[in-house]
C-alpha cells in the first residue's frame, strides 16, 4: 500500500502517466514470476540497474 502511494506521488510529480500501465503490467508479470519461483540474475558488467 505504501508503495502504491509512493508510486502515485512519483507519477504526479514527474507527470509521466504513460509509465503507469507499463509498471502495472510488469508488476503482474513479476507476481507470476514469483509464483513460478524464478530467480533474478544479477547483471555483471556495470551496475546500471
Amino acid at each position: 500500500m505504501e508503495f502504491l502511494k509512493d508510486l502515485f506521488a512519483f507519477l504526479m510529480e514527474r507527470k509521466k502517466w504513460w509509465l503507469m500501465p507499463v509498471i502495472l503490467v510488469l508488476l503482474l508479470l513479476g507476481a507470476l514470476l514469483i509464483f513460478a519461483g524464478q530467480s533474478a540474475v544479477a547483471p555483471f558488467i556495470y551496475t546500471l540497474f
Binding site: L7, R14, L19, I23, L27, G30, A40, I45, Y46, F49
Partner: protein, 625 residues
C-alpha cells in the same frame, strides 16, 4: 520534526554499500560495509556499518530524525524504462535480466530497507521518516556541507545516478541549488569505465589502475595523438561547457551487458581488447594516456563552467570521477579556483554521508556552520576504533608475540628504525578511515628513499601489478620542500603533484620510448618509491591537528633520516578490503612479507611470531580486482 538530531545515511544495492550518521549536521561515524564483511565493494545492505554507526552514536532507530537513502529508486526505474523504450528492440536481453530484479526487490526499496534495518535493530518499526535525495544531490551534499567553505561551486561527476551523470551546483550557507546536469547515457564516468574495460581492468574498481597506467604512455608519440583524435572524433563530443555526447554506436552499456561494442573499438583503435592476464604493452599505455587527457580536459571545462555560473572562488568535488587525483591535481593547479576541496569518500559510499547531510540541511533546513580553515571530516577517521581489548583479543587468538610501549614516541622511534633498515611496517592506530584511501590508521608504510621499495611492496606484500605506483605521506609543513602543491593541502591523498626539480634525477635520453618494465626501474628522484614514471606523486599531507599519532611517526622518521615523508599504501593485499580490526591486520601481516606490525601501543616483529599455519591457497579468498 521531533527533537531528534541524528540522521542515518545509507548507500546500498549497487556497489560500495555504506552507512553514516550525523548529529546536528556533524559527522559522527561512517563506514563502508566491505570492511566488515571482507568482501571488496560489497553492494549488499550495510547491516554491519549501520550497527556500528548506531552504536557509535549510542542510538536506536527510534531516536533518529530520519533515515536517508542516497538515491531515488523510482526515478532510476523511470530511466531504465525510458532507455529500454528508446533503444528497443536493442536491449531485450538486458531488459529481461534486469526487470525481475526490479520487480522482485528494487522497486520496493523502502520496504526492503526497513526489513533490513529491523534485522539489525530488532523488531518494531519506529515512526521515523525515510527520505530519498537524488544520487547527485547526495554527492553534492557530501562535497559541500563538510567542506571548509561558506560558499562554493560544487561539481559532481560519476557513472550514473538516476538520470544525472554529472551536476554543477552552487552551495551557499545551508542551501544548495542545482544549476546544470548532464544526463544518461552521456557520462564521463562511463566513458572512463569503458576504457577500463577495454584495457582489461575491472569496471568499478580498476579505474584507478588505468589512471596509474596512463603516465607510462609516451606523451610526445604520434600514437597517443592519434588515439586522442579518434576518441574525440568518433567516441565523444566535448562541448565548451564540459558536457559530453557519447556515440552510442560504440557503446553497449545502455542496453547491453558489456561496456563497449568490442568489434567497433578494435576496428577504431587497431588493437584487440586486452585480457586481464595479457602483458601490458606500449599501445595500452598510450591509449590509457589518451583517455586520461580527454578526461582531464572535460573536468577542466566543467570546472570552468561551474566558475562561470557561480563566480565562486571555491570548488567542491565528489562522484567517482573525483577520485581521479591526476585530474584533480590539474584542476587545482589550473588556478580556476583559489581552493579546491574533495570529499574523501567521493565514490558511491560517500553518498550515504551526503544523503544524511542533505536531509539535515535541505529537508529539515537546519543551519550549517563552518570551522575556519579546517573541514568537518575529522581527518576522515570516522570508522571503528582500535581498543586495548581488541588488541588483547587478537594476541590471544593468534598467540601473537608483541612488545608493549609505555611511551608512544619510543614506538615511533622503533618503527622509524625498522623502516630505515629497508623493512616494511603495518601501522594500525585509532579509528579507521572513511573512503578508499588509507591515511595512516590502516596503512602499510616504508622508506621512500629505498630504490627497491616499490617492487618489494607490490610483489611481496600487496601481490599486485608491479607497474602500480605508491603514494607518499609527508608532513604538511615540509610538503613544499618535495612536492609542487602550490600551497594546497592534500590531507585525503586526492591530489597528484610533481616532485620538485631539485629532487629529480636526470633520465636517459630514450626514457619516453623505453619499455614499461625498464621505465619502472629507472631511478627518477631522491624518493624513488613514490615518484611515478612522470615525476608525479599522489601526495598525502599529514596534519598534526587531524592525525597526531601518524604525524609523530613521520616526525620520528624525519629525526632519524632527515626525510619528512614515508611510503603509505593501504593495509590489504590485492583484492582484499582494507583491514578493519587488529585481527584482520595480523592475518594480513602474517600472510605477506611485512616485517613488523604496530597496533596501538604494541609492536609485533615477524621473526618473533609463531609459525603461520595457513597454506598459500588463502589468496583465492579474495577475487582479484
Amino acid at each position: 520534526m521531533s527533537n531528534a538530531r541524528h540522521i542515518l545515511g545509507i548507500s546500498a544495492y549497487y556497489h560500495d554499500a555504506a552507512a553514516a550518521i550525523v548529529c546536528d549536521g556533524e559527522v559522527v561515524a561512517a563506514a563502508q560495509e566491505e570492511r566488515f564483511t571482507r568482501k571488496k565493494h560489497d553492494p549488499g545492505f550495510p547491516g554491519n556499518a549501520v550497527r556500528f554507526c548506531l552504536d557509535q552514536a549510542g542510538l536506536g532507530l527510534g531516536d533518529l530524525a530520519a533515515i536517508a537513502f542516497y538515491d531515488k529508486p523510482l526515478l532510476k526505474f523511470e530511466r531504465l524504462l525510458e532507455t529500454y523504450y528508446a533503444f528497443a528492440p536493442r536491449g531485450l536481453r538486458s531488459f529481461l535480466m534486469s526487470m525481475p530484479i526490479w520487480i522482485k526487490e528494487k522497486l520496493f526499496q523502502k520496504k526492503l530497507l526497513w526489513d533490513h534495518l529491523l534485522e539489525v535493530a530488532g523488531p518494531g518499526r519506529p515512526d521515523v521518516p525515510m527520505l530519498f535525495p537524488e544520487h547527485h544531490l547526495s554527492h553534492a551534499a557530501s562535497a559541500f556541507y563538510p567542506s571548509p567553505f561558506d560558499e562554493a561551486a560544487v561539481m559532481t561527476v560519476d557513472g550514473v545516478g538516476e538520470w544525472a551523470t554529472a551536476s554543477l551546483c552552487h552551495g551557499e550557507g545551508t542551501g544548495m541549488r542545482i544549476l546544470k546536469e548532464l544526463h544518461f547515457p552521456h557520462s564521463v564516468g562511463l566513458l572512463y569505465s569503458a576504457f577500463t574495460y577495454f584495457l582489461g581492468f575491472r569496471v568499478n574498481s580498476g579505474e584507478y589502475k588505468l589512471m596509474g597506467l596512463a603516465p607510462y604512455g609516451d606523451p610526445g608519440s604520434a600514437q597517443v595523438a592519434e588515439f586522442e583524435r579518434k576518441i574525440r572524433e568518433r567516441l565523444v563530443d566535448v562541448a565548451p561547457d564540459g558536457s559530453v555526447w557519447l556515440d552510442q554506436d560504440y557503446f553497449d552499456y545502455a542496453t547491453g551487458l558489456r561496456m563497449v561494442r568490442e568489434d567497433r573499438w578494435e576496428g577504431l583503435f587497431g588493437m584487440a581488447r586486452r585480457d586481464h592476464a595479457d602483458e601490458l604493452e606500449m599501445c595500452h599505455c598510450n591509449l590509457g594516456l589518451a583517455i586520461q587527457r580527454v578526461t582531464e580536459d572535460i573536468m577542466l571545462k566543467m570546472a570552468a563552467e561551474a566558475k562561470r555560473l557561480t563566480g565562486s572562488r571555491n570548488l567542491c568535488l565528489a562522484g567517482g570521477v573525483a577520485l581521479n587525483c591526476v585530474g584533480n591535481g590539474k584542476l587545482q593547479r589550473s588556478g580556476l579556483f583559489d581552493r579546491v576541496w574533495i570529499q574523501p569518500a567521493a565514490g558511491d559510499a560517500g553518498g550515504a554521508l551526503g544523503a544524511a547531510l542533505a536531509a539535515w540541511h535541505l529537508h529539515f533546513e537546519r543551519p550549517r556552520s563552518t570551522c575556519g580553515h579546517l573541514d568537518r571530516m575529522r581527518g576522515s577517521f570516522l570508522g571503528p576504533d582500535v581498543t586495548d581489548q581488541d588488541i588483547a583479543r587478537m594476541i590471544r587468538h593468534f598467540s601473537a608475540v608483541g612488545e608493549h610501549f609505555e611511551n608512544f614516541d619510543d614506538l615511533c622511534a622503533r618503527a622509524a628504525a625498522i623502516m630505515e633498515s629497508g623493512a616494511v611496517v603495518g601501522w594500525v592506530q585509532g579509528r579507521m578511515e572513511w573512503g578508499p584511501r588509507a591515511l595512516g590508521n590502516r596503512s602499510i608504510i616504508g622508506d621512500p628513499r629505498s630504490p627497491d621499495m616499490q617492487r618489494k611492496m607490490n610483489v611481496n606484500i600487496k601481490y599486485r601489478e608491479s607497474f602500480r605506483p605508491f603514494a607518499p605521506s609527508v608532513l604538511a609543513e615540509d610538503a613544499g620542500e618535495y612536492f609542487d602543491l602550490r600551497g594546497a593541502d592534500s590531507p585525503y591523498m586526492l591530489l597528484v603533484a610533481d616532485v620538485v626539480e631539485r629532487h629529480r634525477k636526470p633520465l636517459p635520453p630514450d626514457y619516453a620510448s623505453m619499455p614499461v618494465r625498464d621505465k619502472l626501474y629507472t631511478l627518477r628522484s631522491s624518493l624513488p618509491a613514490i615518484t611515478h614514471i612522470d615525476f608525479s606523486a599522489r601526495v598525502q599531507t599529514v596534519h598534526r591537528e587531524t592525525n597526531e599519532r601518524y604525524w609523530r611517526l613521520i616526525q620520528a622518521f624525519k629525526a632519524r633520516t632527515g626525510c619528512p615523508a614515508i611510503v603509505n599504501t593501504s593495509f590489504n593485499v590485492r583484492g582484499e578490503p582494507i583491514v578493519c580490526t587488529p585481527e584482520d591486520a595480523y592475518r594480513c601481516f602474517m600472510r605477506t612479507d611485512m616485517d613488523a606490525l604496530a597496533v596501538g601501543d604494541y609492536l609485533f616483529e615477524k621473526h618473533r611470531q609463531p609459525p603461520w599455519p595457513e597454506d598459500r591457497r588463502w589468496k583465492e579468498e579474495f577475487v582479484l580486482d
